[in-house]
Each structure stands twice: as structure tokens, then as C-alpha cells.
């Protein structure tokens, strides 16, 4: 069996997920045994024509990106959105909360037409995405799981339980008990609740669980002393697209 051809592509994002991939120092060589990396701009010069698995990082936020992602999709058998920017638009999508024209005007003034910009969108808004690795930065264990699974020809597990579940499995002290705010109850797990484990609250970087109880979430945050607006602002830090599209929050 020939090794699967794997490629990595980056769009608009902080490249933290790209970097994270190089942070598997212990596993990197083993991973390289399993696959042929044919394109990885950050780390190498080579380019290839087609890919068995294409990993896409970053959100789509300029017209040229749209063309490029269509092109990559055509040439890829499996396409994986890597990291929250690619999965949901991520933190870039905060700008979508304001009218695009206004944002561009603040930035470029009269020359706003020089650098065309579109709302930051998830990859799935443009092309079909087969699998996701969520998180900002992408969750390292989940990436390894998806990578291994796909290389071995197996569907990866899709996590759709709350971050609380993983907090409970680790018997973390709940940060709510420390008087802090936490998005864990409505955020998708898969990260091992790494933020509460480190004493910090969950900022919701993996987006909401599916079938979420919208009003319940707002009520919950109100109970913890947040105004509806503040609650929404916090919830949308990484999920402006997901939450705005699917859900009319408490309005």
C-alpha cells in the first residue's frame, strides 16, 4: 500500500494550528512514517497536484481565498478543517458582527476597495468539509486522533459532549465554584478541558455543542452576573458565525 499523500494549507489565521502540528516532537517522525507530506508551505518548498488528505487551516476572508479553496477541494479526496478559524471562522469572525463596509472603512478609509475583504467564513461555507478538528488552537489530542484515524482508513470519532464532561472525568475543581465564569457547559469537548484544568475558565474556543439550549445558556450566564449583551459577546468570541446563524439569542 502506498502512503497517503497529505497536504497542509493555510488561510487567514494565526498559524498557531500549523505550529501546533510541529509540536508533536515525539510523534512527528512516526507520523512521517505513515504518510507522504506533499505540501506544507510553512515547513517546505514542495508542491503537489493532488492529495489523499488535505488539512485546511484558517478562515476564508478574501475573494482570492475562495478560488484557492475550491481548487484544493477539487484535488483532495478527504478535506479536513483544522482549528476553529477553519471550522467556524474562529476569532476572525468577530469582525462579521459589524457591517463589513464599516470595518473596511475604519481600516482603509477611502481606499477600502484596494484590499477586497469578505466576512470571515468557515471552510464549510465554501466547500464540503469531511472532518473537523476544533479548537483555538486546535486540540492536539484530537488532531492526532483524526490524523491517525484517516491515515488508517477509519472514520474519526466526533465529540459532541460538553467541556464539563471532560472536566468531570478529570475531577477538576469547577471554576464556577471559584466565582469565575465558564463556557464549558455549552462548549464542545475534545480538548480535555485543558483551560479549567489550568485554573482558567473555558472561553468556548471549540464552538457550541450541537442541539444547544440557547435560552438556557443565556439564563445560565445571567445567573452568573452577566448582562445578556455581555453573555452574548463572550459566547461569540469564537463562534460569531455559528451562533449568529443558527440561533437568535434571547432577542
Amino acid at each position: 500500500m502506498s502512503k497517503p499523500k497529505v497536504a497542509f494549507f493555510d488561510f487567514t489565521g494565526c498559524e498557531g494550528c500549523q505550529l501546533n502540528k510541529l509540536n508533536f516532537e515525539n510523534e512527528l517522525l512516526d507520523l512521517l512514517e505513515l504518510v507522504d507530506i506533499v505540501e506544507f508551505r510553512e515547513a517546505m518548498d514542495d508542491k503537489a497536484e493532488e492529495y489523499d488528505i488535505a488539512f485546511i487551516e484558517g478562515s476564508i476572508s478574501s475573494p482570492s481565498c475562495v478560488e484557492r479553496i475550491h481548487d484544493i477541494r477539487r484535488r483532495s479526496k478527504i478535506l479536513v478543517a483544522l482549528g476553529q478559524c477553519a471550522v467556524s471562522g474562529g476569532i476572525n469572525a468577530i469582525k462579521n458582527l459589524h457591517p463589513m463596509d464599516e470595518v473596511q472603512e475604519t481600516v482603509y478609509g477611502k481606499d477600502k476597495y484596494l484590499f477586497p475583504s469578505i466576512p470571515a467564513q468557515p471552510v464549510s461555507a465554501i466547500v464540503k468539509v469531511d472532518y473537523e478538528v476544533r479548537g483555538c488552537p486546535m486540540s492536539a489530542p484530537e488532531y492526532l486522533h483524526v490524523f491517525k484515524s484517516l491515515v488508517l482508513g477509519r472514520k474519526p470519532e466526533v465529540i459532541d459532549h460538553s467541556v464539563c464532561v471532560e472536566c468531570k472525568l478529570r475531577e477538576n475543581e469547577c471554576v464556577l465554584d471559584k466565582g469565575m465564569f465558564c463556557l464549558g457547559p455549552i462548549t464542545r469537548g475534545g480538548c480535555g478541558a485543558i483551560c479549567p484544568t489550568n485554573g482558567q475558565y473555558c472561553i468556548g474556543c471549540r464552538g457550541p455543542v450541537s442541539n444547544i439550549n440557547k435560552n438556557g445558556a443565556v439564563e445560565m450566564l445571567k445567573k452568573h452576573g452577566f448582562s445578556v449583551n455581555e453573555a452574548l459577546k463572550r459566547m461569540k468570541m469564537f463562534s460569531a458565525n455559528e451562533l449568529d446563524k443558527k440561533i437568535e439569542w434571547g432577542r
Binding site: 507520523l31 491517525k148 488508517l152 471559584k178 457547559p185 444547544i212 439550549n213 438556557g216
Partner: protein, 354 residues
């Protein structure tokens, strides 16, 4: 099973322990075997941990985060280790190890008894039961906080059967009256030897519960016969966010998920089980996307029926032990006692109408 009630308590041997002898006693136990006891966790929480230093043991604690079940049904447990190429596997080796659980609240032990029932019933599971063997429990009394309601589910402060010894705090100081509940307990005391038997027999101090169910616990299953279609479920579901905390921390919940993971060498792997819970969205979802309990009102109802009806119909006991974890740790502040009381209200109005 024979209940030890206060009338019988008087017949038990009793010993007086002060702070120092309690500490010495823990150290004495540690020399014999592994001791597990409540300790500080984080800033204001507690957890049961293996004792490394007797001074770490905290005897005044409201409740731990995870219940005792974690020692018999670990949150994450490997079931099999396999070799993909050779298609062979090895089951996880589980040994029955002597261990003493020290400083355990009585509802906690009741929780274990409920789990024993669940793991023995039908197909007795060796993973749980093997871990469960050779465990001794030494109890301690506690001051109920606003979440405890054990008395309301039939576990009053003086229910101490199943323990080998029971420590009852007798004053505001760190002094305890220790009741010898069975012969194992007597053996421990005898070989420890540094304490004196008390001749003037005491009773276990009654405790004041602030959190109460409105109806006697014998009648709760009856209420559940009539409230399946109650509006209470919808009301609760408006606030619940389906995080699953109440399931995972419940002393008598034992549902699990199983996943396979392959190592990076593409050769070895493990089949692992994880705690799971019926409040989670995907719990009852099958291929094709059909979700048999898609709505939160259905899920909440299932959770409570599991505690007060479904298993109770077979075991004759409530499978809620009143520890209050599901309410204390619910991020939406949903209180199980409030739910039950609303159901009772619903039930009584129904009865009045008929």
C-alpha cells in the same frame, strides 16, 4: 441486609478518639494497607485520594467532587489492549487489592451498595466487582449543607451498616465517638490498641437537613407512576443546558461509552470506556441521525426515572442517595429536590382532582 438503627447502636462497642489518636489511627491503617480518604482539591473542593501523609486527610468536608465510584468504575478505563496485525488482545489485568476507605459519609457507602446491585444484576461484571472486593469502609458523620438531602431518601445520619467503624463527631472539637459496627472493625481497634472503650453508651447525633423532599421516601416511586407527562419536565428543560455534569458526578450513575484508539505505530491499540450520561445529546442517537431522546425534557425525565423508578422497581431501593452533587455542581442551578417537590405538588393536585 440488617439495618443498624439507634436502638441497636447502644449495643455496639464505643471508643473515644481525640484528634491525635485519629491521626495516629490513620497512620496505623496506612501501615497495614492502602488508605483512601477525603483531601483538599483546588481552593474549595475535596476529592477522595490515596493517602500519602495522614495530615492531608480532611475530615470536615461537605462532599467530594467525584463520588466513591471512581475507585471501582474508573472515569476512564482500558478494557482491552490489542494488536491490530496479529488480531490478538489482552484484557486489562484487574487485581483485587486490600484497601480501606476512611472518612466516608454514610450516603456515599449507600451509593456503592446501589452500584453493587447494578453491576451484579443480570450479567455480573468482573471489572467492577473485582475492584470492589477487599474494600473496607470507615464512616464519619457530617454536617448537612444546603444541598444534602439523604434523610429524605431514607439515609438518616444513624444509618451505618456496611461500615466496619463509624466516627461520629461529638463536640465542636475534633473529638469522635467511634462505633464498632462489625468484627473487622473490632479487629482494627484491638490491634491499634491505643484507645479506651467508653462504657456510657451514646447515640449518633441527629443531623438537621435544610434540604428536604416533601413526601416520605417510600411514596416517591408512587409519585413517579403519575408524573411522566408532567409539565415540570418542560420547565426544568428550559434552564438545563445538557452539560451532563449531573450524570457524571452522580454516585449511582454508571453508564459508559466505549471507544477504540490506535497507537501512532498503527499496530497497537486500546479499547477504553468512559463515563457517559443520558443528559448528553448523543447518548441515544443511532445511525441515520435518529435521536431517541433528543429533547432536554425527555433526558431530564429519564435521568430522574432512573433514580426513582426504573431500577427501584427491581431493587426496591431509591437509586438516589441525596448527596446533592447534581444540584451543587449544576451550572444552571437546577436542584433535584426542587424537581421532586414540584412533581409531588403536581401529583397531589392530580390526586385532589380525582
Amino acid at each position: 441486609m440488617n439495618d443498624v438503627t439507634n436502638s441497636k447502636l447502644k449495643k455496639l462497642k464505643q471508643y473515644a478518639f481525640d484528634k491525635d489518636s485519629t491521626l495516629k489511627f490513620i497512620e496505623f491503617l496506612m501501615q497495614k494497607t492502602e488508605v483512601i480518604a477525603p483531601q483538599n482539591k483546588g481552593q474549595a473542593s475535596y476529592s477522595y485520594e490515596i493517602v500519602k501523609d495522614a495530615k492531608d486527610v480532611v475530615l470536615d468536608y461537605p462532599r467530594t467532587i467525584q463520588p466513591l465510584k471512581k475507585f471501582f468504575l474508573p472515569p476512564v478505563e482500558d478494557l482491552l489492549a490489542f494488536d491490530l496485525n496479529a488480531n490478538t488482545y489482552q484484557e486489562e489485568k484487574i487485581e483485587a487489592k486490600d484497601k480501606i476507605f476512611f472518612g466516608i459519609h454514610n450516603y456515599e457507602l449507600e451509593g456503592i451498595k446501589r452500584l453493587d446491585y447494578s453491576f451484579k444484576k443480570g450479567n455480573p461484571e468482573s471489572n467492577y466487582l473485582t475492584r470492589r472486593e477487599k474494600s473496607m469502609f470507615i464512616g464519619i458523620s457530617y454536617e448537612p449543607d444546603s444541598y444534602h438531602f439523604s434523610e429524605s431518601v431514607g439515609i438518616p445520619a444513624d444509618k451505618i451498616d456496611g461500615f466496619c467503624l463509624f466516627f461520629d463527631k461529638i463536640s465542636n472539637k475534633s473529638d469522635y465517638m467511634v462505633f464498632v459496627v462489625d468484627e473487622n472493625g473490632q479487629k482494627l481497634i484491638d490491634s491499634f490498641g491505643k484507645v479506651n472503650e467508653v462504657k456510657s453508651k451514646a447515640e449518633i447525633t441527629a443531623k438537621k437537613f435544610q434540604n428536604k423532599v416533601k413526601l416520605h421516601y417510600n411514596r416517591i416511586p408512587q409519585v413517579f407512576d403519575h408524573v411522566y407527562k408532567s409539565k415540570v419536565w418542560d420547565k426544568v428543560a428550559e434552564r438545563c443546558v445538557g452539560c451532563g455534569t449531573c450524570n457524571l458526578l452522580c454516585a449511582t450513575c454508571y453508564c459508559f461509552d466505549v471507544r477504540d484508539e490506535i497507537e501512532i505505530n498503527a499496530k497497537d491499540g486500546k479499547r477504553t470506556r468512559f463515563w457517559d450520561g443520558c443528559m448528553l445529546n448523543t447518548f441515544a442517537e443511532v445511525a441515520g441521525g435518529e435521536n431517541f431522546r433528543e429533547k432536554l425534557n425527555q433526558r431530564t425525565r429519564h435521568r430522574l426515572y432512573r433514580k426513582f423508578k426504573y431500577i427501584t422497581d427491581h431493587s426496591g431501593e431509591l437509586h438516589c442517595i441525596g448527596c446533592g452533587r447534581c444540584s451543587k455542581y449544576c451550572p444552571a442551578d437546577i436542584s433535584i429536590v426542587e424537581i421532586i417537590n414540584s412533581l409531588i405538588d403536581d401529583y397531589t393536585t392530580q390526586q385532589k382532582k380525582n
